[in-house]
Symmetry: C2
Subunit: 341 residues, 2 copies
DNA sequence: CTGAAAGCGCTTACAG
DNA sequence: CTGAAAGCGCTTACAG
């Protein structure tokens, strides 16, 4: 076992000072060609690599980005991480991932922990509980300490910082509008409870599309799911009792569950029931019939978030001008809505 | 903007030495009740939190685990991360995630970077390219430096270290054996190229099951996919030309693609074609028909890997006794194989 | 009971 | 051209 070699050891071996070794390795012109070569050769031989923790302490930057997300076992968040990771890597940053598990406390603990020197900035999406409590003190605190934060997807107006979102409202509006245009009359909505920011926005988009087309809003056709784990029964109930001719679901899971429910009730998808989901992921692609969805490009969102954060970290001036970047969406047409185009 | 406060600043404010502050905050009995309280009150007021980077440098441990995986946009790997994260968090560790993108070079670069002090140990799964090249010098090097490594899923016998796997061979054997027992005669195999370790093992399990049941191996029924992105065509070709009555696929994607292909060819699943997949993920659950799979519990694998790593990190004695932990699997019966039980 | 010193591994302004 | 010193933020053995 050969431990990693340090400047000190090299200095000792070569009988020079630590400063000389350090400067030689950084190609300082202060040092004579001769010693420089000698040191570099030796360092190479022993595979010297500077200790990044020591550098972090010295430079007061870690070249590490902290990511806080509600869950990782969720295709959308995984794609965002992937998007962040690739940009981060390109620019020499590493990525620490913490999961809040939709819990406020875990979100707070994780942020506080990472804020104690481990990272240079945050990219995060709020936990459900945080959105419910509307308590953002942990985020304000971090920002006040001068650590930049970029929020994505589940954001809040209560915090001033850079943000990356899609236009949830508009995307939902357009999807529902398309359904209406294609003569669907009785469009059901399967959504989340209102405190989930993106769920609320998508619900609003649905409502607006109906209103703008003079369709009366029927509360019976609107299902707000509290507990995602147990969404099968209420969805079956909605479809069997209301018999909508189309369903707009605010995520993939609700969409595919609607399809499964319809099958069970012997309702043919798409002939008797069209379905549009949200978030273009694996489920929509591989479901049968495959599901038309509003794409929500997690890779792009992650890329953008990473770019914004790194730019802020590396820009000299501390301009307080925060941006909100809106990633475009579009409808990915698949088998569940054959008549749309 | 109020920057984070340091021991030095507290010492200055309170007109005591840094040592006194440090000891007070760590409740050292060396310090008088009086000063201790004064310091603690002040620290609390200013929300003092020790700088973790400084602690890392001092203690020569970072309380951080490095994870290197081929991809994150892959349900199985996401579940493993989740499993690691939860145990890590419980025990006060953070998690840095790096993606190799199935590339040898990226795997090497990421490992070298993290090995320079950023983490205490690795949990990793090999990239395809690394498995193809059989070049593991980067891993040996890290281990030689005294940094523990736990490998999972895609492991290699060429490296001595702790490992977490499932019995891929046996699981495949059992699945195929079950098919045979249920009177399926013409069982197709959709697998990866042989250099992917787990693909090879599952292929071997398939072959062994046939042999043990005196079924002649028909190479025509075996499809080895090189490029996962373009698996649709060869799979369609296999099914249409060979007309198997059952398919054993070494992952979810191949399984669901087989089902889609069968539908296109007007072959009824499961009546005319039974399908068993591998890795119990979202696709299998939500496909129609849902797919019977060999479960491969990523959460458990992640939990175990994290436990093994942390135990090694925190155990006093440097025992060189490496363990390979085998996580049990079982067949999750779904609609694609109605006759199995 | 308190504090100066040394040290973790590095960089850099300064002295010689 | 080389090296001693100070410093990043912390801890701890030791002196007083």
């Amino acid at each position: 076992m050969k431990r990693k070699v340090t400047l000190k050891q090299i200095a000792k071996e070569l009988d020079v000072s630590i400063s000389t070794v350090s400067k030689s390795l950084r190609d300082s012109p202060e040092i004579s060609e001769d010693t420089r070569q000698k040191v570099q050769a030796f360092a190479k031989l022993y595979n010297y690599k500077p200790n990044l923790i020591a550098l972090s302490l010295k430079n007061k930057k870690t070249k590490t980005i902290g990511i806080i997300i509600p869950e990782i076992v969720h295709h959308f968040f995984a794609t965002v991480i992937s998007g962040i990771e690739h940009i981060a890597n390109e620019r020499g940053y590493n990525v620490i991932v913490c999961l809040s598990d939709e819990s406020f406390d875990k979100e707070v603990i994780n942020m506080e922990m990472l804020a104690n020197g481990s990272i240079d900035g945050f990219i995060m999406s709020l936990s459900k509980e945080t959105q419910l409590k509307k308590d953002f003190h942990h985020i304000t605190e971090v920002i006040n300490q001068g650590m930049p934060v970029v929020m994505f997807d589940r954001v809040t107006n209560d915090i001033l910082c850079d943000k990356v979102i899609i236009d949830d409202n508009l995307a939902a509006y357009n999807a529902v509008h398309d359904l209406i245009n294609n003569d669907y009359k009785k469009i059901g909505l399967i959504t989340t409870v209102d405190y989930v920011s993106v769920g609320k926005l998508r619900t609003d988009g649905y409502l607006k599309a109906l209103k703008n087309n003079d369709i009366k809003i029927d509360e019976q056709l609107i299902l707000k799911i509290e507990d995602i784990e147990n969404c099968t029964e209420p969805i079956e109930e909605l479809i069997s009792s209301q018999r909508p001719d189309a369903i707009f679901a605010v995520n993939e899971l609700f969409a595919v569950t609607a399809i499964k429910a319809a099958k069970k009730l012997n309702i043919k998808v798409p002939d008797e029931l069209a379905v549009i989901g949200f978030t273009d992921g694996i489920i929509s692609t591989y479901s049968s019939p495959s599901i038309t969805t509003v794409s929500q490009n997690g890779i792009k969102m992650g890329n953008k978030a990473a770019q914004m954060l790194i730019e802020r970290l590396e820009s000299e001036d501390e301009e307080e001008h925060y941006k909100t970047e809106v990633i475009e969406t579009h409808l990915v047409l698949r088998e569940s809505t054959p008549t749309l185009k």
